[in-house]
């Protein structure tokens, strides 16, 4: 197997092992632990009183605009890394190009702040 695929196999093995660890431990503790679910035990916990309404109530998710901005900036970060590795070779032209790119996004963030979409209320 080539070195290239060994990286993938190692990552996949460790990830699978994380899941396996949970499955195995829970499997072993299954032999020891009691299992006696009563109505009170399996009811939704709400500080002792009976739960009011559904657990999946509609809630106002305040940060969907944060989410959109996050996608923008995360993609930006992906573009910065390839340049960062070759920063020395690319020299001044590369630096100017990436600074213009970053400043454009910084301006976008400034616009969002001035527009008031980053207020959490």
């Amino acid at each position: 197997m080539s070195e290239y695929f060994q990286d993938y196999v190692a990552v996949a093995a460790f990830a699978a092992f994380g899941v396996l660890l949970v499955a195995l431990t829970l499997g072993i503790t299954y032999l020891v632990r009691p299992s006696n679910p009563t109505r009170e035990k399996v009811s939704t916990y709400e500080c002792g009183v009976d739960a009011v309404g559904e657990g999946w109530n509609q809630t106002f998710i305040r940060y969907y605009i944060f989410g959109l901005l996050f996608v923008l900036f995360d993609v930006e970060a992906v573009f910065i890394f390839p340049w960062a590795i070759k920063a020395e070779e690319l020299g001044l032209p590369g630096a100017i190009a990436i600074i213009v790119f970053i400043l454009t996004l910084l301006e976008g963030l400034l616009y969002a702040v001035r527009k008031g979409v980053l207020r959490w209320e």
Binding site: A10, A13, F14, F17, T25, K41, T59, F70, A87, A95
Partner: protein, 331 residues
């Protein structure tokens, strides 16, 4: 070390070591947390388990957790509820792949991935999906709000975390963990001297990613009972905390590697077996710092958390990148 193992044997050995090390890390950091909190806040607590220093307390806790009933609420979304801790552990274990302990590329690290630091930042977000799953599937209002807060927090602090590392990548010219350490060993000083802004932002963002105080809104005992773990019990509950401690370790290793020179120390040949000890000493300092902050700072408010990330940390880290880029090219 002249023994040449095949790839599969080596991988199996490394998996076995990781399996043994993760619970040990959990216990060491858990014990440190307990003792330090006791000294910082006069929480006398369990001082007597095991005779002296309460050393047996965590073992007793472990035995207790094994015997606890595994309760799944009747309204919960069962498969999602059951698999959420597994996904959290998946991210935790996969993060250990790029932990560099020694310059030997075969024995000192599981795999020295070419995209090292980039992989670490990506895989550390997987745990948050597990947290969101746990929060949603519990069918409990506290859990739901906790899970949503965790997602919002990840969104806000992933960016400063990523952007803070760019400065190091510019200086080292590589994303590989071993490459970053050897760049620092070669130049003789750690990147923290030039990237101190990046280091500070990285540590703040790490605390937020780990949802530790002062950024523990997803759990926030006084507001949300226990946040996304409210409905969990027994070993499933324990896995969330094991993952938190193991992630504390991994993120501290990454911070030490990027900014403090990893296993390298001025005047000491990194090829010796002293390297892992040096690394663990640095990690110990960072973990102590995290515990110290946890027990001395109050919790931020949710809007303060978001403001700090979006209006301060992200612009500052972007300016840090620009300054680093200019200095790198000009000098």
């Amino acid at each position: 070390m002249s023994l040449e193992l095949t790839f599969w044997w080596l991988l199996a050995i490394k998996l076995a070591v990781a399996a043994a090390v993760v619970p040990v890390i959990g216990m060491v950091i858990g014990y440190a947390e307990m003792k330090l909190s006791a000294h910082m806040q006069s929480r006398v607590g369990p001082y007597f388990a095991g005779g002296r220093f309460g050393w047996a307390q965590l073992i007793a806790d472990g035995v207790k957790f094994i015997q606890k009933e595994d309760i799944i609420p009747e309204k919960a979304d069962r498969p999602v509820f059951k698999w959420a801790p597994a996904l959290v552990m998946l991210g935790t274990m996969a993060l250990l792949v790029i932990v560099p302990l020694h310059p030997s590329s075969r024995y000192g690290i599981v795999r020295d991935l070419e995209v090292g630091i980039f992989y670490a930042l990506a895989i550390s977000s997987v745990s948050t999906i597990g947290v969101l799953m746990a929060g949603w599937s519990s069918a409990n209002k506290y859990s739901m709000i906790g899970g949503l807060r965790a997602a919002g927090q990840l969104i806000a602090y992933e960016l400063p975390l990523v952007l803070a590392t760019v400065g190091v990548v510019i200086q080292a010219g590589t994303m590989s963990m071993q490459g970053i350490v050897s760049a620092q060993v070669a130049q003789g000083w750690p990147f923290a001297l030039t990237q101190f802004i990046g280091f500070a932002i990285f540590m703040i963002a790490t605390l937020a990613e780990l949802t530790r105080l002062p950024f523990d809104m997803p759990i926030a005992e006084s507001e949300l009972v226990m946040g996304y773990v409210t409905e969990y019990s027994g070993f499933r509950f324990l896995f969330f905390f094991l993952a938190e401690f193991a992630n504390m370790f991994s993120m501290s290793v990454i911070a030490a590697t990027l900014f403090l020179g990893g296993y390298g120390l001025w005047g000491i040949n990194p090829e010796t077996l002293l390297s892992p000890i040096i690394l663990f000493a640095k990690v110990g300092v960072l973990v102590f710092l995290m515990i110290w902050l946890r027990w001395t700072l109050p919790r931020l408010r949710e809007d303060q958390l978001q403001t700090l990330a979006w209006k301060w940390l992200i612009p500052i880290s972007i300016l840090n990148i620009i300054v680093t880029a200019v200095l790198k090219v000009v000098i």
